[in-house]
Amino acid sequence: MQRREFFKKLGVAAAAGAVLPSLALSNEAAAPKPKGPNELSYKDAVNAITGGKKVVNSPLVHLKAPEIAENGAVVPVTVEVDSPMTENDYVKAIHIFATKNNNTRCIDVHLTPANGKAMFATRIKLGGTQEVAALVELSNGTFLVATQSVKVTIGGCG
């Protein structure tokens, strides 16, 4: 009797040992990707800014970014908008997005007529090959957008 019980217990323990690691593994696989502090997808970010308004692809917005970036940690991006920048007609804001980064928002620039020229340049980090987008808000309330894809050979987000 004792021997039988001992083997029973042994069997249960073995079964549990076999199951547990697989459970742990499946947990790891199902765990979500590491989240950044301000994770936000491109669609949500654009919706939050435009409030559901129509966004038009426009040739007035010139987005300059390299087609192939060797290092994703430093990607120069330039946005220029054809605008007279007077009191009645000026560029209110320029938003730059990296569409597939954990937090797609890179920078919002709020301009005034005192700038004289609607241009902004900076350097951003890209986690991988993706599209860079520039969303421009004009003083009359319309939204223009320009996108360009950038191929990244070495990612820049850790």
């Binding site: 590491p34 950044g36 502090p37 301000n38 940690a73 430093v74 990607v75 330039t78 990296a98 980064n101 954990n102 937090n103 797609t104 928002r105 890179c106 920078i107 919002d108 620039v109 709020h110 301009l111 005034t112 005192a114 700038n115 004289g116 020229k117 609607a118 241009m119 902004f120 340049a121 900076t122 350097r123 951003i124 980090k125 820049g156 987000c157 850790g158």
Partner: protein, 111 residues
Amino acid sequence: MSKRKAIIKIKPNKYANGEVVKVNLMVMHPMETGMRKDKETKATIPAHYINNVKFVYNGKVITTMNVWESLSTNPVFTTYMKIDGEGELSVTFTDNTGEVNEKSIKITPKG
């Protein structure tokens, strides 16, 4: 309040009243995303990035920026500005830990 190194450059060097000039701001900042891990201890390095930049020229706010962690280390901000009389251009930048820094440059138009 710690002092961070920042450089403001205005191009061209000589400018007249009413001219539109390029303003180049460079800040020495680590811009940690909060997703990177220390290679030895495997601990996540906490996020540390600039979240607000403000350009003030003669008491008038000309440009404000909301910034997130996707900007590169030691970020560069380039904008344009219309020269409107003698005065001072000051830039204030805040980061997510509450650190506030200020840098200013004198504007002296010639001709």
